[in-house]
Each structure stands twice: as C-alpha cells, then as structure tokens.
C-alpha cells in the first residue's frame, strides 16, 4: 500500500508544476500592471522602476516562473506584492477559515444528504422521493449568493435567531476569547474547555455552513440514491431478503456497504469543492477564507498569492482523492493495492 501512496505522490509533481505554470501565465495575460496600484498616483518613473525592481518584477518571465516553481517545491510562496506579508502565513490564516467552514458544511451535507439519498432510494418514486429531490435540487439551482442573503435576512435580520456575521460576538471576543491554538474558533474553544465561547462559535457557524452545505447536498443525495438503487437491484440483496434478514439490516449493512465506494468518491469531490472556499458566502457573512483571498489577489494581480492559493487548493484535492482511494478497501475487500 505504501508503494501505492508514494507512486501517487510522485505522479502529482507534474500536476503541481502545471498548476504553477497555468496560474502564472493567467496573471501575466491580464493587460495591467500590479506595480501601478502600489506606487500611488504621484509616483515618478524612477520610483516606479525602483518598486518594480524591489518586487523582482523586472526579471524576464521565465526567470520569475522558475522562481515560483522552485519556491513551490520548497513550500515557500514568497511575499504578497500588496501586503508584503509572507504568502504562506496569509494562506494558512485564510485557509483556516475555509477549513472550519468547509468541515462543518461537510458534516451537515453528509448528515442531510446521505440519509436523504438512502430514503429516496428505498421509497423510490414515492412522495418522499419527489419531495426530497426537489428540496435538494434547490441547493444546486438557487444561486448561492441569493440563498446566503435570504438565510441571513430571515434568520438574522427578521427573526434574530442567529448572529449575522463573524465568528464570535463582541462580548466573547473581547472578554473571554479562546487561545488561538489552531485558529479555528470551535476547535480552540473545545480545546480550552470554554463552553460559552464554543456555543457562540457554533451559533456563528450555523448559517454560513448550512448555506455552503446546501450547494453540495443535492449532489450527495442524488449520487447516494442512484448508487443505492443500483445495489438494491442486485441478486445478493434478494438473497439476503430471502434469508430473512430484516429490511433495515439489508439496506444499511449490506446495500450501503456495497454502495460505499461510489458514495465515498462523491463525498471526496464534495469535500474538495467545499475546501475551495466560496467568495460569495464569505462576502455575505464576513467569514474570510480562501475565496476572498484569491479574488483579491487576482484583481490586484498579486502573482505570489494567486499561485500560492492555486497550489494549495490543488494539493488538497490531491490529498483528499488519495485518502478516498485508500478508504475503498474498507468498503470493498475485493479492492487491493499491491
């Protein structure tokens, strides 16, 4: 199995080089100049040239490209042209926001989507099936921006049941904030045993995580449904029933286990999607994550940021996919890695 892992990681290397190249080429292709934004309106040509040299932007393109590839290989994405802070630090900070939001959204999406899919499959073409399909379809059809604003308006603006933005209320933030161990509000509160802060953090998470989850619930539910339907029509299911095994056991133990690999693949893709961050959800709930960070980097032509985030997101896709592949044998002993 380890050979499999190593082989997979080695074949990812050309993928990363390609990512860096594409991201770099894309930012180069935009017909504008990041330095002009940084030097201000009154700068003279001499000042402009100086800043350009300081930022290393006067080197030929291939040299800059090589610098980025080399840096990426060492996990060093350089310094943001705009903020002068190391990109690694910034990426990690924004990624924590995306990770926390993504994790909770994933939990919500799986908790809602998988049972919905199973139920739909078991009650195929019944009323439950249709209702669930329409509901989950809303997540894919409705623009996430609209869903976010609606959820915020109804549950915060009108009813005041949940907080509007941010991770903590002012009161918790300024009187008893949990120590910044992981940088994720809920985890830090949990680790510090600060239950009040934990409740506050969870309350702040509910809206943005649910909105984010709504997008992928449909996909998870539908794939679960179709995977379950495939399996439920197999002969061995008929055998199990005829042996007198209870329906619940048939569905949850026998059918689900066999549908496992397919569902797992979808979950992996969904998780990867959630980890990309969503600039629209982040904007509405003021929850800074990779979405906001990379869009800001793109608009201001901050090459190190764009490349850094592109690589980090790709890395997560690779890792998640690898993880999913490694989990297959748990569900299907027929799959083995030599």
């Amino acid at each position: 199995m380890w050979a499999f892992v190593v082989r997979r990681l080695l074949t990812s290397i050309p993928v990363f080089v390609a990512i860096v190249t594409i991201a770099f080429a894309a930012t180069l292709a935009v017909p504008a100049d990041p330095v002009a934004m940084l030097v201000g309106e009154d700068a003279t040509s001499a000042q402009y040239e100086r800043i350009r040299r300081e930022l290393g932007l006067d080197r030929p393109a291939w040299q800059q490209w090589l610098g980025y590839v080399w840096g990426t290989a060492h996990g060093n994405f350089g310094y943001s042209l705009r903020t002068r802070q190391p990109v690694n630090v910034d990426v990690w900070r924004f990624f924590r926001g995306t990770l926390e939001l993504g994790l909770f959204a994933f939990v919500i999406a799986v908790t809602a989507g998988v049972p919905a899919g199973i139920w739909s499959a078991v009650r195929q073409n019944g009323l439950t099936d249709h209702v669930l399909r329409i509901l989950t379809l809303g997540g894919v059809a409705a623009p996430v921006f609209w869903t976010a604003l609606m959820a915020q308006w109804i549950l915060y603006g009108k009813l005041g049941w949940l907080p509007g933005i941010g991770q903590f209320s002012d009161f918790i933030q300024f009187t008893s904030p949990p120590p910044a161990i992981t940088g994720m509000a809920t985890i830090d509160s949990l680790l510090a045993g600060n239950w009040v802060a934990l409740r506050d953090a969870l309350a702040h998470l509910v809206l943005p995580a649910s909105v984010l989850a709504y997008r992928v619930v449909a996909v998870i539910a539908r794939m679960t449904r179709s995977a379950m339907l495939d399996v439920l029509h197999e002969d061995y299911i008929r055998t199990a029933r005829s042996l007198g095994i209870g329906e619940r056991s048939v569905v949850l133990r026998h059918a689900l286990k066999n549908a496992g690999p397919l569902i797992l693949t979808v979950l992996g893709i969904a998780f990867g999607q959630l980890l990309q961050g969503s600039i629209l959800v982040e904007t509405v709930f003021s929850w800074p994550g990779l979405g906001l960070y990379i869009v800001k980097g793109i608009v201001t032509l901050d090459y190190p940021v764009v490349i850094g985030v592109a690589v980090v997101i790709s890395a997560f896709y690779v890792i998640v996919n690898l993880f999913v592949d490694l989990l297959y044998p748990v569900f299907d002993p027929r799959i083995r890695y030599a």
Binding site: V39, G40, F171, V196
Partner: protein
C-alpha cells in the same frame, strides 16, 4: 439501536450545551463591552497602516485622525487649525515655515514628539519613496529651532503646503524608536504594515485582513477622552451592502459607512438609526467621464462640446443619484467655497446644438464605435454609462461599456489607450490645486499620471502661478479662470457631484463631520448612551 458509545457521546454534548447556558461570572457584561466599543462597518480595507507607504483614500481614513496626526488640521469651516503644532509663521517669500510644536506630546510607545521626530518622518518618507512623497516634493530641509520648534524650508513656493499638511497625507509622524527597533531590511515597512506608533488617541491592536481592525486607547495620548468615551474602535469589513444594513438595524454596528443610494431611504425610515447625507471633499465627490483628447474625433473641441450638450444630466442625477447628487459645474464641488466658480459653463441637454457643432466639425452623419471604461464593481458608473449610451447613440456614437478592474483602469489612463472612461474625483487635500493639477496639468500626462490627454499651456500657466501666489484673492481669480477654461474646452463631461451618506445609531454622540475630510470618523470624542444598548 444506538450503541453505548454513541449514547455516551450524545449525553456529553447535551451536558456541554446545558452548562454553557448557565450565566457566566465575568468581569464585564455585554452592555459594558458594547458601551466602550465603537463598531464601524466598512466596505473596504486599507493596504497598509504605514503612513509613508499608504496611497489610498481608505487607508488615509483609517490612519487619520485616530492613529496618526499632522502638524495642523482643518476646522469645520475649512480653516487651518493647530494640532501637533500650536502656531506657525510663514516667511514672505513663501519658502520657510516655522512651526512651534505642542509640548508634552508622546508617541504610543512613550517616545517624545519633537522637531527631530518631524525631521525623521520626512526623511523616512523620502527614503522609502512611496506614499505621499510627491505631495511634499518641495520640502528641502527641516531643522530644529530652540526651544521646541521645527523650521521647514521649501525649494519653491507652494501655496497649498499648509493644506497638504492638514490633510490625511500630512499625518506622517511616527516614533523613530519603533521604526529603528523593527527596521528589518526595508526600513520597517513590513512591520508598520500592521503596527502603528503615532500620537493619535488610539493604537492598532490587531488587523485580521478581510475581517476586522481593532484599535485600543493610546496610553500616552496628549488629548482628553470624555468620561464615558470609547476605549475600543472596531472596523468590521462588510462588503455586502444588504448585510451592512441589517447589522446596523439590529445594532451590531454603530456606524455604517458609504451607504448605497437604495438603502438611504430604507435606513432613514428606521427608528434607532440616523442617516446623514453630507458634503465630503475628502471622499469621492464627483463622477465624470473623460474624453481621450489625443484620439480622434475628440481632438476637436467642438466634438467634445457637442457631446457635452447631448447628455441628459437631469435624468442621470435623479435616476442614479436621487437626493445624493446634483449636476456638476466643472471639476470642483459647489460646496467648496470660496474656490467654486459659479460662473463657469454648465452644459445642459440641447440637441440642436449637438447637431450644429457636429456639422461644424464635419462629423455629421458619421458613426463611431468606442469603449466606455467603468470601474469594476461600481454600479453607479454602470447605471450612468447606460444612460450615456442612450444619449449619445442618436448622434452616431456607439458606446460599448467595458468593466475594468482597478489595475486595468489605471493603466488605460496613464497609457492613454482608452476612448472614453469614467473617473471619480476627490480632493487629497482641501485646496483646488489638489484636483485641478492632478487631473489636467500637462506634467500629469506621463507614466502613472492622470491627465486624459488634454494639454493646454494657458491652463498650465494659470495653475503654476496659483501655486506660487500666496494671496487668496489673486489665487481665486486664477482658479476661476482655470475652471472657466476647463468647462469651455470640455476635456471631460462633468456629470455629477455627490454627497456622502452614512448611517449612525442614535445612541452614538460626539461624532463630528468636517467637510474638508469627509468620512474620517474621529472616535476620541464619542460617547454611547447606555439606554441605546440593543435588546435582543
């Protein structure tokens, strides 16, 4: 059936939730935290907190006056008042300014503010070569004068100097010790991006990008706080206007900056919220459209005048700006007294004149296809652009609206590649020189400049003379003539000047508005009424 471990886990969670619902024994109550914190909703963030590097208006609004201060400041009527300097004299030839410095002032790290610190600030500004360095390009030398004064010598007379010093660009003074202790390899630029060391009433405690900026009281501040003043200022980044509106409605924000026209009425009708619509010279007050005067057919002044007559100004003002705008007359806002020239030409829609002028220019019947660049995300410009498109189409001018991100927009101007393009005017300092020089002096037609391709010797001479001239009446005459010339030559369609709208909760008092600055919410004098604590 649930396994025992699952049951155990659920019980643990339930207990945790119950425990957290118990009242907390805490040093402060939510009401106390609310009362000592001023929360401001912002639509954008600064690039840096280093006053020698920052070039953005939004950065200036954060730096001044809560964090950094200048030698002088503007009063509510626009007159120059003391701040870090208590009095000053100007030599007859306009080259030497002597400032008596305020005694007992310290930076937030305890270092005393004195003439050496003044010199240090200007030296660092020049060494780094960024930020407002070119505004103070004429500063030649700074020397300390006993007992506690600084003498600044200019290389050339520059009448707007005091005004520049009073603006946010003059809030340059930081602790030499902090800079030297954290110099690193770039003269402390990296450190000062997210740390402050000024004389202002507050200090930057933390900046979480795209989330919030937290300021706390400067322990060495030379001024006074009211008894129940705010000891903490939080700028919350709220980019979505609908979210901002809800936050201030529910009391989670005390101030909401830069209201979009749609929300002005809605918030104005709400109890507990006060909407203010004010003249702001320091904020962005003008929306205009530049012609590229170097590109045919706009090289001909008659064509520019013709199109200036084609625009339905009334419709633009009422439809897009509502109560917030009025038609512009030249580059300066009407409220900018005494400099505004109310005799300058103000165009109005006159379709016959359009045709006559186009015929004169020999363009009758020709069609032109051109791009109108508008700044990305600026809905106002998009709306105005669509009206302009309709206005100009009947005369053969087909405008294609093109959205441009800021770097692209910027480059289109200084590379002079645009056809027509939107601009927003603001005053970096409250002197007509600030806008009229930057936008139209021929030296600004260059790499990184803002001149849209209109070069006029007569205009240049007027502005250069006005910079050297120190008497008010003489300067006024020169700028009047310059405005008249500008509106006659029409290198720009001057569309509208707009007021700045913001919302404040009723519980907030002590917030002053200085038109020369605009939305610079000085928090030091602010108090919050405990009765205004939002009940859930």
């Amino acid at each position: 059936m649930m396994t025992r471990s699952t049951l155990g886990l659920l019980t643990a969670c339930l207990l945790a939730v119950l425990v957290s619902a118990l009242p907390v024994v805490n040093a402060q109550s939510p009401q106390q935290v609310w009362q000592e914190t001023l929360t401001i909703g912002a639509v954008d963030e600064p690039q840096t907190f280093d006053p020698h590097v920052n070039v953005t208006q939004i950065g200036g609004q954060r730096l001044y006056p809560n964090l950094y201060e200048g030698l002088v400041r503007y009063g509510p009527d626009g007159k120059i008042e003391p701040m870090l300097a208590t009095e000053w004299t100007v030599s007859r030839d306009g080259l030497t300014y002597t400032f008596t410095l305020r005694p007992g002032v310290r930076f937030s790290d305890g270092t005393p503010f004195n003439a050496q610190a003044v010199k240090f600030a200007f030296d660092r500004l020049r060494a780094i070569g960024r930020g407002p360095v070119n505004v103070f390009a004429e500063v030649k030398a700074i020397e300390p004068v006993e007992p506690n004064a600084a003498r600044i010598t200019l290389s050339e007379p520059f009448s707007p100097f005091l005004s520049a010093l009073a603006s946010w660009q003059g809030a340059l003074f930081l602790s030499p010790k902090v800079v030297q202790d954290n110099a690193g390899t770039d003269n402390a630029q990296r450190y000062m991006t997210n740390h402050t060391a000024g004389t202002g009433p507050y200090v930057l405690q933390s900046w979480e990008p795209e989330k919030q900026i937290v300021l706390v009281r400067n322990p060495y501040y030379w001024g006074r706080f009211p008894r129940n003043g705010v000891s903490r200022v939080v700028y919350r980044t709220v980019r979505e206007p609908a979210t901002g509106a809800q936050l201030i409605l529910r009391g989670d924000l005390d101030i909401l900056e830069q209201l979009v026209p749609e929300f002005v009425d809605i918030l104005g009708r709400t109890t507990g919220v006060n909407v203010q619509t004010r003249v702001s010279l320091g904020g962005s007050y003008g929306v205009h459209m530049h012609f590229n005067s170097k590109k045919a057919p706009f090289t001909d002044v008659r064509v520019r005048q013709a199109l200036s007559y084609a625009v339905d100004y009334k419709r633009i003002v009422t439809q897009v700006f509502g109560r917030l705008g009025q038609q512009a007359r030249g580059p300066l806002p009407e409220e900018f007294k005494p400099w505004f020239n109310d005799k300058a030409i103000q165009y109005s829609q006159d379709l016959n004149r359009v045709r006559a002028l186009l015929r004169e220019a020999g363009l009758d019947g020709r069609t032109f296809r051109m791009t109108l660049g508008w700044q990305a995300g600026n809905r106002v410009q998009l709306d105005v652009g669509q009206i302009l498109k309709e206005n100009l189409a009947p005369f053969g001018f087909d405008l294609q609206l093109q959205e441009m991100t800021l770097p692209v927009w910027r480059e289109a101007i200084w590379k002079n590649t645009f056809d027509v393009i939107f601009v927003q005017f603001s005053l970096a300092y409250a002197d007509p020189d600030a806008r009229m020089w930057r936008a139209y002096h021929s030296s600004e037609f260059r790499n990184l400049g803002f001149n849209p391709g209109w070069l006029n010797k007569q205009y240049d001479e007027l502005l250069e003379q006005a910079r050297r001239e120190s008497r008010l009446e003489a300067r006024k005459r020169l700028y009047d003539e310059a405005q008249a010339l500008l509106t006659r030559e029409a290198p720009t369609i001057f569309l509208a000047t707009v007021l700045y709208s913001y919302a404040v909760r009723d519980a907030v008092s002590g917030l002053a508005w200085i038109p020369s600055y605009g939305p610079f919410f000085a928090a030091a004098p602010v108090q919050k009424d405990p009765a205004g604590f939002p009940r859930r």
